[in-house]
């Protein structure tokens, strides 16, 4: 099983990059959703 560590590293790092990117999208989406709610509430209070 020559180079098994390299193959393992390539797949692990590759999938890690995709996973972190998806987590970053989910985090940014959740933050924006909170911001939308906050702004809508403050606009309603101001009316």
């Amino acid at each position: 099983m020559k180079n098994l560590d390299s193959v393992f590293a390539a797949y692990l790092i590759g999938w890690g990059v995709f996973f972190l990117f998806y987590v970053s999208i989910a985090k940014r989406t959740a933050d924006l959703r909170d911001e939308v709610e906050r702004l809508k509430n403050s606009l309603q209070r101001a009316k």
Binding site: V7, F21, E35
Partner: protein
Amino acid sequence: MGKRIILGAVAILLVIAAAYAAFYVAPEERTMGLIQRIFYFHVGSAWAGLLAFFVCFIGNLMYVWKREPKYDWLGVGGAEVGLVFTTVVLITGPIWAHPVWGIWWTWDARLTSTFVLWLLYVSYLLLRTLVEEPGRRALLSALFGIFAFIDVPLVFGAIRWWRTQHPSPVIMGGPGSGLDPTMRKVLFFSGLAMCVLMAFLIAERYMLEKMRSEVDILRREAEAQ
């Protein structure tokens, strides 16, 4: 939301099946052995990355023509997702190259043009952070994105037009090129899986940008009161 969840589930199932096919269906390459199995992940990611940049290019062109925000959202989605796939290509390539070539990196036409592509789309995303006004930001980044896309045909053609350290093409490579039929099937399946994953990530990133646009509108309304 429902369609995006289904697309995400299909993408996950496909990439798991593609990884299984790369390790258990594709035959072992005679000279490189096990390390060659990175090929399916590396090339699949490269195809999906270039396709994402094409989506970005279409979004950029459409924005310049129509000036509708949805095309700007598509452009930034394509750019960011393309950048992620190209990052994976630039990481997995050297991991594969080191045991085979004896070096991690060389400045040949394919590797250099891919690195320049990565830098161009990093610049595209940086440019967007420098311009405050949404319309101006969208137009400037669309124009820059159209310019950046010029490098994509160079990346594609680099191993066809010049002698490079990077291997010659095995698909559409002309006489003398080719691939074992099972390897070819696994490669196309891996490419399909990565493209579905790319479509899912662009859809998610598009929705994020749409929501950001809503926040900008609400903020302006709040400031006006």
